[in-house]
Amino acid sequence: MGTTLAFHSYKGGTGKKTLVTNLAATFAMMGKRVCLLDFDVYAPSLTMYFQHTPESHLNDFLAGEAEISDILVDVSSELGLNGKLFIGFSSPKKEDIHKIEINHDVKWQFDAFKKFLAAKKELISEYELDYLILDTSPGIRYWAINAIAAANLLFLMMKVSEMDMVGTKKMITEIYDSLIKYGSKYFIILNKISGASPLQEFQVNVNEQMIREIEERVGSEVIGAIPCFCDIQFSSHEVLYAIKQPKHQFSKCVLDIANKIEGKSKNSE
């Protein structure tokens, strides 16, 4: 039985998309069977990492105009992965984003989500997935919340800033804590930590004391702490570092998180 992972954040700019895409690729490099679905339906951008123009999008599936299998793109062989990586893209077209947000009533939204839940089971069993990864939009928005409810393991990305900390804590209190009693587990991933030393090839120093303080403050385990890498931060295009630069410190951090998620996933079975 595969595990469903959802990645979420209080606000944008936490580096969620870069982590999620690299994590999905890392799992597949480890030989896992992975499917990544772009539930960031309000600002889809997976095409920046995987250069594909699919014929059908997640939006078409939710509208009942395509099967879930129709929207998946298998990128495994082109990326030279040991396992499998299927991507389900969201439509970046303005009218499609508008449609999903405004044009449909609540009943339509619920029905579309129920359709996804039925398809999720088929996806995991038919594609023999180890991981179904749901990338969500930041904040408390309808499709982000639904994706969180559909997942077993939840990952909250945040930067080490007061605003992120207060907002994340608020989301945990208002939403995440109520999900725990129904089997969900959530963890924090810190990203873009300033003051670490990523330039030393074999050592990335993250302040452990700071991590413990954050854990205490937000009330959740920090499963990953990624320093701020200038080359990533100021890169002019999006890169799958896990594949292109596996020795990059960022790729090593992602691998470390992947291994920890493997452990958490086994424990939650």
């Binding site: 609540v106 039925a118 038919e126 409810a149 939403i175 109520s178 999900l179 129904y182």
Partner: protein, 282 residues
Amino acid sequence: MKSCDVFPGSRRLIKGTVPPSSLLLIGPSGVGKTIFCKQFIYAGLLVSEPCIYVTTNESPEEIEKSMKTFGFDFEPNKDNKLFRIVDGCSWKLGGESSSKYVVDSQHDYLTSLSIEIKKAKQDLNNIRLVLDSVSELTSRCDHGAVLNFLQMLTARIRTEGGKAICTVASGAHDEHFMNLLRLTGDGILEMKVDDSGKEFKRLLRIFSLRGAKHKTNWTPFEITDKGIVVKSETELRCALCSKLIDWEPVTKIVDGKKYCFDTLDCANTYKKLKSIYGDSFE
């Protein structure tokens, strides 16, 4: 994703995966055994499994024509040679056949059939095989020889990880032969017709299947223009995802109301959504 049954109704009648097995499909003439077999073959082709159809009473042309009628498009697999027909029928018509694997009248029938099946499966693994029909074989060959032939064929398919279905006409054989025949396979599928009520009903059941948990009750099915559709006796659907619940439902009380779910995961997701959206989520 090819979300399809291994054979018509398999996902509804069997829990989990269908093990490598050779099955006997027993039913009266006209109930739908041959269509069932063609659909079994087509389901295999959809997931790129090599398939061999051994026919004793239809020519390859007739099989292909009938499959096309139901929309079972096998043409791409003829080119990649995943679909092969062993023709044990055309010899009666003088031996002309479009198949490469044709039983000839020079050898003993079962020997020739064995040779052609062996040739057809030579470069293939994990095959699906249909033998339609065993009853036709007994009209030409000694019962003991047919049983030996079937035992060897089914054992070989099973040990190679394949799946086979052999059809048998019910009422066409004596009880002793049927009892011995039932021992040759790993499982028995039965079909029957019920015309006692207002409606003419076709019914299917899995009498036995080694290595799998399955339902044993008679389940209605229809022959539609897309092939056999196995129906559900009850239309119980998951309160969350609306999926048909084929097995025991997960029953939970939420806010004093009883709900049936397909899985525990659905039950928990429902509770999560309720806790977030309150009563507006229904």
